[in-house]
Amino acid sequence: MKILVPIKRVIDPYIKVRVKPDNSDVEMNNVKMTVNPFCEIAVEEAVRLKEQGIASEVIVVSAGESSSQEQLRTALALGADRSIHIDTPRDIEPLIVAKLLATIVQREQVGLVITGKQSIDTDNNQVAQMLAALLDWPQATFASQVSLIDQQLEVVREVDGGLMTVAMSLPAVISTDLRLNEPRFASLPNIMKAKKKPMQTLSAQELGVEVEFTQTITEVSPPQARKSGIKVATVEELIDKLRHEAKVIV
């Protein structure tokens, strides 16, 4: 079984983003970029399934500008076998990403797709569900444990109120939650080897998908700043402030 792992190039999650003065976007120049953390977990899970002999090949794919190839190389260094770069503008809409991925799934005869549950830039949490819908495959979103039992996929999902374990047949789409695994670090020899692994570049046109936006971001603004607070010295003072100044407790 081939596993497809879509990954995204995003601003490093530990960087505090700044909104551009003209409110058109956040500042992208000279900002450290990385593989979206949820995608890294997806790559790790796919590589583990290959190490267990469940997967035959792990293909990573990224839709974005040519700089996304850097993140594909990272994924190859983490153990993916080959990569596909779909050349598109940055941050194309989730439905277009899902359409592009659906064509790759069909071309490559993929048996399982593992995505991150959301990218930490646009925070949409949509692509896995949309891809499953387009393919008419079952979906297991927010996965914190994945096992394959007699060709049935058993997935523990992190949902409101607890943990839900579901079973489904393959092919299927999974989206990863943070607790699915602890991604490995790429070793230097593996980074060197990754340079020789195959990377194919395709255009959206070659895949027969029209990149047409239906949503326009007209303004990006910073959040309202909270006015700075005060430090209190004692528990008594804290209780007094909460009771009489903030009036949030009785």
């Binding site: 925070d123 607790r179 971001i217 990006v220 909270r226 607070g229 430090k231 008594e236």
Partner: protein
């Protein structure tokens, strides 16, 4: 604009966030229909009928829909959707699972986690863990939207909308339930609580969380946690507050032993009043806290619990 609001429920109770989604939808028009899909869920429909601005409740009550799997529910919703311009969901784990599947089936985009309605086609939503807000205009003929509950007030409950039964054959099941491990919790629900007390890595152990629990019980508060506390196994995953966990905006948020990483702040910085208790005076949490107390939580928490 005609709106279809997908009720969030457990087959018995309408989730309070649905009333907030109805509020958000009512900013775009007044023809609000609530759809209740589930199994033995008549009482949910009756609760939804009381919600103000709702003109009609549709109920699809079939045993196969009892687990609310997206694979089962999305065909029901897409069948009905042609009559509506807005399909609205809670930005809960169920809503997030279901809404994009519905949107893709309809061939339209989806808007996640909106916090403001500007007009019928323009909405505001947070990006980059709430460090920026994007104003988005959609050209899709049907707007499929999930709503951040903490950003809207619930509608009132002074209504008596008609309830209409709706029959639809369940699609073949492709997913089956193995089990549900419910988090036992007798405290108020995290996303709806007026007071939330969260513990972080600084709490040190699962046993020490008892200090947080005692204070929570005294204040009638819900308990939350940072990712570090959840990863360390101090509390259950679904109590995590942050970009990847729950988003809360209570009247009072007390952060105990939490440093205040960007991802955690994303989940709580819209709280009305924030209190930070931390032994490190340089913790970033103090930058957003209205009241900060620097000190050892093991001394402060028992004092707080006793004096309240």
């Amino acid at each position: 604009m005609k709106n279809l609001i997908i009720a969030e429920h457990d087959n018995q109770h309408l989730h309070a966030d649905t009333l907030k989604v109805i509020q958000a939808a009512s900013h775009t028009g007044t023809a609000n229909t609530v759809l209740v899909i589930g199994s033995d869920c008549q009482s949910v429909a009756e609760q939804a009928a009381k919600a103000e601005t709702v003109s009609q409740v549709l109920i699809v009550d079939t045993p196969e829909f009892g687990y609310h799997f997206a694979e089962m529910l999305s065909p029901v919703i897409t069948n009905l959707a042609s009559d509506y311009q807005g399909i609205w969901f809670c930005a809960s784990s169920k809503g997030k699972d279901l809404a994009p599947r519905v949107a893709a089936k309809m061939g339209v985009g989806q808007l996640s986690d909106i916090v403001q309605v500007i007009s019928e086609d323009t909405f505001v939503r947070p990006i980059y863990a709430g460090n920026a807000f994007a104003k988005v205009t959609t050209r899709d003929s049907t707007r499929v939207i999930t709503v951040r509950g903490s950003a809207f007030d619930p509608v009132g409950l002074n209504n008596n909308a008609p309830i209409e039964q709706f029959q639809i054959e369940a699609p073949p099941a492709t997913v089956s339930m193995v089990r549900f491990d419910k988090t036992e919790n007798e405290r108020p629900e995290l996303t709806a609580a007026e007071i939330v007390i969260s513990g972080g890595r600084g709490v040190g152990s699962k046993e020490n969380f008892a200090l947080i629990e005692q204070l929570a019980d005294k204040l009638g508060a819900a308990i939350g946690a940072s990712r570090a506390a959840v990863d360390a196994g101090f509390v259950a995953n679904d109590l995590q507050v942050g970009q990847t966990g729950k988003i809360v905006a209570p009247k009072l948020y007390i952060a105990v032993g939490i440093s205040g990483a960007i991802q955690h702040l994303a989940g709580m910085k819209e709280s009305k009043v924030i209190v930070a208790i931390n032994k490190d005076p340089d913790s970033p949490i103090f930058e957003v806290a209205d009241y900060g107390l620097v000190g050892d939580l093991f001394e402060i928490l028992p004092q707080l619990t006793e004096q309240l």
